[in-house]
């Protein structure tokens, strides 16, 4: 019998970025298949291609030995592929039952919605998870009134109701507690017994070895290893994810960290899906936040800046409580924040470079009238120092390349220079030359005494830039890596919650 899914030679580019390069994936009937890899290895893209939400450039996907047309989510679903979404596919205003059967409502002979059938079928589905469903999880309950983990369960039930051949679970256990994960695994095993296959993406190595039959590892858009879970161990898997331990670009990191005093201390910070997190950062230290995407790194940075304030906890900078309720509080204490999502978080689109630069100073210095001449001179100097190429301060921000735009957004925070610089995946989508300038700038600011905290989705960036890396998994710090332990292997291993 052919495997239920065989994808071969799958390639996909997004612009200049090659997300997948002849990747392959084979899933047998009735198996739980874990798909692993570091951030940006292409595992999500591969899943999206199989689920029909992203088109492929080249390659072939066979389902039950037949060439599958996967042009849209609906086509993929008709061929038995279902993708589990994280809360995105539920309509909060509708009931659990209406959500599960949305678009495929059972009908009476006259074509009316068969409400009794929906309630019956939903009750049968809920019975499968009765042990963890919790209070108020009924077919008639509105999804908006459910707790986050109940929504996750509803999402799983919605997928199950489609009776697919292959289910792709992308981080399905992220919001579940231990007991709910057990129930989820029971569901997976039950599906396996029914001959249904699951593709399981997880950020917890324990889970992978607890549930998976086989493991496929991806790196840089390619499939690099396939294991039977029973015949391998986690070291082999982590090695496959990391590859040849490459030479670390030592230029930036190769210096003795300042033996400075503690500048920043964070005590038991908590937010939604974060914490409690406690750590300190020293004067002149570049502290990295590592781990797989979405483990609370961004929440930590935006909490420190007050954009999404912490629910509890305390932040102390130079002995002063700087726990921010709003960004303007943070700015008053010389805390700066640079986001990698420039379009969403940084740019004043259509406005001039000058305005984009001056905006933070206007707020911080409580200016109501722009001191044009003073600011122009100040920011011309700052931008020149950053090696920024631009036609003139009055050119629109959109006329610059991504890398030069990012320099403008950093320059906002450089006069006076910041005490704490928060960098949220700051080099996303900028060219190599600008990245180099950027690293040097971060190092320079740290050497001048600033505390720098950087989150990056690229492990190599953290490894080459940071003095120390805190690895987050599920919203808590699982490892604190520095010195000899700051290696690709340890970082990847810790990312999967497998701290030594």
């Amino acid at each position: 019998m052919p495997p239920v899914l065989r994808a071969t030679d799958i390639s996909k580019s997004f612009g200049a970025v090659q997300a997948l390069d002849k990747a392959r994936l084979t899933v047998e009937r009735g198996e739980i298949h874990a798909l692993l890899g570091a951030n940006g290895c292409g595992k999500s893209t591969l899943c999206k291609i199989i689920a029909g939400t992203v088109g492929r450039d080249t390659g072939e996907v066979l389902i039950d030995g037949q060439a599958a047309a996967l042009g849209s989510p609906r086509l993929a679903e008709e061929q038995g592929v279902a993708l589990f979404y994280q809360e995105l596919s539920l309509v909060p205003q509708l009931s659990v039952g209406d959500n599960i059967f949305l678009g495929r409502e059972p009908r009476t002979a006259l074509g009316f919605t068969d409400r009794a059938a929906i309630v019956r079928a939903t009750e049968a589905l809920i019975a499968r998870v009765a042990a963890v469903a919790g209070k108020g999880f009924t077919p008639d309950a509105r999804v908006a009134d459910l707790s986050p983990d109940q929504r996750q369960l509803a999402e799983i039930l919605k997928v199950l109701a489609r009776k697919p051949k292959i289910i792709i679970f992308d981080e399905a256990t992220a919001t579940l507690d231990r007991r709910q994960v057990e129930v989820f695994f029971d569901i997976l095993r039950e599906l396996r017994a029914e001959g249904i296959s699951s593709i399981f993406i997880s950020h917890r190595m324990d889970e992978v070895f607890a549930i998976a039959d086989r493991i496929t590892v991806m790196r840089n858009g390619q499939t690099v290893a396939e294991f039977a879970a029973a015949e391998t161990d986690r070291y082999a898997v982590v090695y496959a994810m990391v590859g040849e331990t490459g030479a670390i670009a030592a230029s930036v990191r190769d210096h003795a960290p300042l033996k400075g005093d503690v500048r920043l201390s964070v005590e038991a910070a908590r937010a939604a899906r974060l914490g409690p997190v406690s750590f300190t950062a020293q004067r002149g230290e570049i502290l990295g936040l590592g781990g797989l995407q979405g483990q609370g790194q961004k929440a930590l940075l935006s909490g420190l800046f007050g954009a999404e304030p912490f629910q509890s906890g305390r932040v102390v900078l130079d002995g002063v409580d700087v726990t921010a309720r709003r960004p303007v509080d943070a700015m008053a204490h010389r805390i700066a924040y640079v986001s990698g999502d420039r379009a969403r978080d940084s740019a004043l689109p259509g406005r001039s470079i000058f305005e984009n630069t001056a905006i933070a100073s206007l707020v911080r210095e409580r200016r109501h009238v722009i001191p044009g001449a003073v600011f122009r001179e100040r920011f011309s100097n700052v931008l020149a120092g950053l090696n920024t190429r631009y036609a003139g301060l009055d050119a629109p921000i959109g006329s610059l390349s991504g890398g030069n735009q990012q320099k403008v957004f950093i320059s906002r925070w450089l006069s006076p220079s910041p005490g704490l610089l928060l960098l949220d995946d700051p080099t996303k989508g900028i060219d190599l030359g600008a990245k180099g300038d950027f690293y040097l700038l971060a190092r320079k600011l740290a050497d001048e005494g600033a505390a720098v905290i950087i989150y990056s989705s690229e492990d190599s960036e953290l490894l080459s830039l940071c003095d120390r890396v805190l690895v987050l998994n599920g919203g808590v710090v699982t490892a604190d890596l520095s010195g000899d332990r700051l290696t690709p292997f340890d970082l990847t291993r810790a990312s999967y919650g497998d701290a030594a």
Binding site: V91, Q93, L102
Partner: protein
């Protein structure tokens, strides 16, 4: 969950309470308020607003808005009277005129829907623009008010069908139509489209078709309202129904349908339309000077809306 909660939130409770208060006040102001003939005459007055509000409910549930219904009412009216007049005014002509009117209403809705769902224009701006176009067309079809409809038309409207007053028959048909739609998957899917568009899309719901259908329904119910108004005025008027769109939106919101979409239902909108209508008659019979009427009507609607919002928020 009871059936009532399907009306949407708790806003409808406030609206029902407002309705009762208005009934009591009206009964005190007009001693014959509860006589069958007066009830019928009031329900006749409210009927166009009720119909427009029903149609508007579908559009708002789908997360859109239709500001052009007032203009559709005018356009349907002038097309209908013109068709009837040019075909000679006999029974056949009236029938064709009614069909032409409904066709125009549905067609206007279709245009709105295709522009908004197909070309992805903003509904509020688009329907504002098309309302100007429809008004312009109405003036082009019939530049001046006039052109009376034949006697059988308005006699039937004011009379009875099978022993029931025609107006009640229209209410009944409208309710049956709404109940029919509410029992079909259409309604759930429309709420999904208005509630969380990305979720509906990922689930494979055909967003475009549903949004266009909602606009067609709004246009069609606008046409029904126009044909009723024509039965009352018995003539053509290119400026008819101008305030209907806004009153209907107030009625829908009063009835518990969220302007953001996804929550609500037709029954609430009907209650809301009656409330808006009765506010008008209370002010009139309270003997308020004419120049204050609109102002007071606006303030009462605002208060009723605020009450609904506050109750829902709790």
């Amino acid at each position: 969950m009871t059936g009532f909660s399907k009306l949407g939130g708790r806003t409808w409770i406030v609206t029902a309470a407002a309705l009762i208060v208005l009934l009591v006040v009206n009964t005190l102001l007009q001693h014959n308020f509860l006589e069958p003939s007066v009830v019928q005459s009031n329900l006749t007055t409210f009927l166009p607003l009720v119909l427009v509000a029903i149609g508007q409910t579908y559009v708002i549930l789908g997360g859109d808005i239709d500001l052009s219904v007032g203009a559709i009412v005018a356009l349907v009216n002038v097309v209908t009277v013109t068709v009837i007049a040019s075909l000679g005014g006999d029974g056949m002509a009236v029938g064709l005129g009614l069909l032409a009117g409904m066709g125009v209403g549905a067609g206007c809705g279709l245009i709105n829907g295709l522009i908004i769902a197909g070309l992805r224009f903003q509904p509020i701006v688009t329907t504002f623009a098309t309302s100007i176009v429809f008004s312009g067309l109405a003036l082009w079809v019939l530049p001046q008010a006039g052109l009376p409809v034949p006697e059988p038309y308005w006699r039937t409207y004011a009379g009875t069908i099978l022993g029931l007053p025609t107006v009640y028959v229209i209410y009944l048909v409208a309710f049956l139509l709404a109940a029919f739609l509410a029992a079909r998957p259409f309604m759930t899917r429309l709420k999904a489209v208005g509630g969380q568009r990305t979720a509906a899309f990922q689930t494979g719901v055909d967003l475009g078709k549903l949004r266009v259908s909602a606009f067609v329904l709004s246009g069609l119910f606008g046409a029904f309202a126009s044909l009723c108004l024509t039965g009352e005025t018995a003539s053509g008027d290119p400026l008819m129904g101008q305030s209907l769109a806004m009153s209907a939106i107030s009625a829908v919101v009063l009835g518990g349908t969220a302007l953001a979409g996804g929550v609500g239902g037709v029954l609430g909108s009907v209650l809301g339309a009656w409330v808006v209508g009765m506010i008008g008659s209370v002010i009139f019979f309270a003997g308020l000077p004419f120049e204050y009427q609109t102002l007071v009507q606006g303030l009462i609607i605002l208060a009723a809306l605020a009450g609904g919002v506050l109750v829902t928020r709790r």
